[in-house]
Symmetry: C2
Subunit: 423 residues, 2 copies
């Protein structure tokens, strides 16, 4: 029998109070509901939002939180992060991803778009914590082994393994890392395979000036040109960062229906220098979404912070208070992401999947209730989330997730073991 | 009889666990304590920090949270904020300040440096909520009434009223608003009075380019030059913003021992354009602190956010990940502020006033515990604060402040009444 949940007279983003009936994993009715449900939640001091979608994570990097901060990239990554990553086993990634899932649920995120090693273990962590995710198999050329060597058979096997381990809330995808870690041939093979099999691709694009300059040195083209020249760019591409783009490149990405992911905190913390050209992207009609990036470069997975930092950074950079208003930030964190991931999430409407969060309005930072959108983007924090519903199931209630102590203890032990190995 | 509190084997910022004994309103002993106390708190899953000090607030502006966001300053302030402010009565400021005090306590702030109207009502709100504050009487020239018209007698009266309404946790101070709202004569009179009576001065300085340009037009000097020419600058001056300063001006402020307040979120949200020259200030040996600014320009009072945003903004602006590391951010939010306010707060040491916060370490965003400082600055949020102790009294326990529902309800009603008046 299908589970049913009724949210009674709950505040919605348009300022109106309505009933929301969830049946099975979908939103069955919005308005005035007379039907009884197995579970009724009083919406009196609560607002409902679509669960946030974190569009760029390396979830298991929670294990490296606080491990290499306030250092130059070329000190931190080659000397600390990469050696630690080389010690990772599947069970470590599983423990780190579970911690990330817990942190995300607690801060209102019900779906994330991940890219990391051991995708089967990631998928398992997602299934067990009750969250939703797109899990990319990471493709990197290593020494003599090119991504295209992996071949069709092996890739089919990996995609099936992700699907099997993750169940219905996990979508497998391809994760071609970046133009600086993959040959043109590998990129070409991956994108051909993805197109043929209807898979999404999750990649890094023009995050740093160095990446652009190196690409020009190596193949005489900037990253966007290179990708476009091999037919890589399409509506299945999720391009993270997009910091160092020309206006012409924004035009190319828009024409190819590429989705961009803005990671303002990561870009600022890693001192990437530039700022993603959001106004030009919007002008060109691009689909723009939001992400936190991994915990070695943020170090939080809160989408509240991502929304506010995005708005602050864009306003500050353009000397214009009107750039990236609160409504945009919420769209980027919800509806735009649902569209990019081809999932029926990110909007509260009848027939959509029931991925919802309930905000506790009885908090000083959300008082007065003059402007809910503004309060969500500029004043709220992770502590404001009371309930998380994913795929029609309550995965968090009164800010508690079942088994959270065990998840934290496991991750703590795993991180300590890793740190001991690398010093 | 004096109240005593014992924090048992609690984690300190240096990574060590110690006992902390509080007697009356001071830290009596740190180390291994055998003495019994009336109240013992188990420090097992907790870290202790000095309570944060928010160095620039207009606390009662919580009432205007979400009222004029994503608009140009010259749309938002003259057309919305100022008309609303003109309707404020003392009891409104009291209700708004109480809400701010509640929000601050819940996000780990135990002292703030305020500047607003109705300072007696502000002081009363501070006393009742158990927090600590420096409350400035705001000085502005209005039409034919200059600040110096207020005169000595009236000022003595106001300072006494603040002291009386606020009790021992409130320090009265002078709040000369800015060079663009006060005549040279008024500024001169205020600074003379403050020096003579040993009072702190809280002012806005070089927040926008317009302010600098207008000052040059009006009197042929930039704001720092103007203030220095009349002997305004000294170690009793707390200068908020300091965004648009030359290196020479940083030198002047450093020589005069002026304290700067960095308000990164406000500067970004209001698109002030520039970025406070933190590396140059530090180089010059200036005392630099942190603030949130009022809720119409932030809209949060969380010092966690202020610390992280400061670190992000400085790194991003200088293309250098090493600028403003976590340790600096914590110093700015604690010890540097204590020094500026001439209060024995901001450090955990025997003999200091007992203004402390306890962080709940059992949270996913604070896992793993690799680096406590980094976790506090880059990963923590308001929800991580379990206990707040101010002046030796527990004012928050298990994230609850006594009477919080009533404070929120009062503020909500007050804001609704104001909004109804101004539309």
């Amino acid at each position: 029998m299908e589970m049913s949940i009724l949210l009674k007279r709950i505040l919605m983003m348009d300022g109106m109070r309505r009933d929301i009936l969830i049946k099975g994993n979908r939103i069955a009715k919005i308005g005035s509901v007379r039907e009884k449900a197995e579970k009724t939640i009083d919406g009196k001091d609560k607002a409902v939002l679509p669960g946030f979608v974190n569009m760029h994570t390396h979830a298991a990097m929670t294990l490296f939180r606080g491990f290499a901060d306030d250092m130059e990239f070329y000190e931190a990554w080659p000397k600390k992060i990469w050696p630690a990553e080389s010690k990772l086993a599947g069970r470590d990634v599983y423990a780190g991803t579970k911690l990330a899932c817990l942190e995300m649920l607690k801060s209102g995120t019900t779906c994330f778009n991940d890219m990391y090693f051991y995708s089967e273990d990631i998928a398992r962590a997602v299934r067990e914590t009750g969250i939703r995710a797109v899990v990319s198999e990471l493709f990197l050329d290593r020494k003599e082994v090119h991504a295209y060597d992996i071949g069709e058979k092996k890739t089919i096997k990996v995609m099936d393994a992700i699907r099997k381990a993750g169940g219905s809330r996990v979508t497998p995808a391809m994760g071609p890392h970046a133009v600086y870690t993959l040959s043109k041939e590998s990129l070409s093979w991956i994108s051909g395979y993805a197109r043929e099999h209807g898979l999404l691709m999750h990649t890094h694009l023009s995050e740093t000036r160095k990446e652009n300059e190196d690409c020009v040195k190596k193949c005489g083209m900037r990253p966007v040109e290179l990708l476009d020249s091999i037919g890589f760019l399409g509506d299945n591409v999720i391009a993270s960062h997009c910091v160092w783009l020309t206006k012409a490149e924004v035009g190319v990405l828009a024409r190819r229906n590429v989705t961009a992911v803005h990671n303002p905190t990561s870009n600022m913390k890693l001192a990437s220098g530039g700022v993603m050209p959001y106004p030009e992207m919007r002008q060109a009609g691009m689909n723009v979404t939001l992400g936190t990036d991994g915990c070695a470069s943020n170090n939080s997975l809160s989408m509240f912070e991502a929304m506010k930092t995005a708005a602050l950074l864009q306003k500050s950079h353009r000397w214009d208070q009107t750039v990236l208003p609160a409504a945009d930030a919420i769209e980027m964190a919800t509806a735009n992401a649902g569209r990019a991931l081809r999932l029926e999430i990110g909007k509260i409407a009848e027939g959509m999947l029931a991925d919802l969060i309930l905000i506790d309005l009885n908090r000083p930072e959300l008082t007065p209730r003059t402007n809910l959108q503004s309060n969500i983007v500029y004043a709220a924090n992770a502590g404001c989330v009371d309930t998380a519903i994913c795929d029609g199931r309550i995965v968090m209630e009164k800010s508690k997730v079942r088994g959270e102590e065990r998840i934290m203890a496991e991750a703590e032990k795993t991180a300590e073991r890793l740190m001991a190995k690398v010093g």
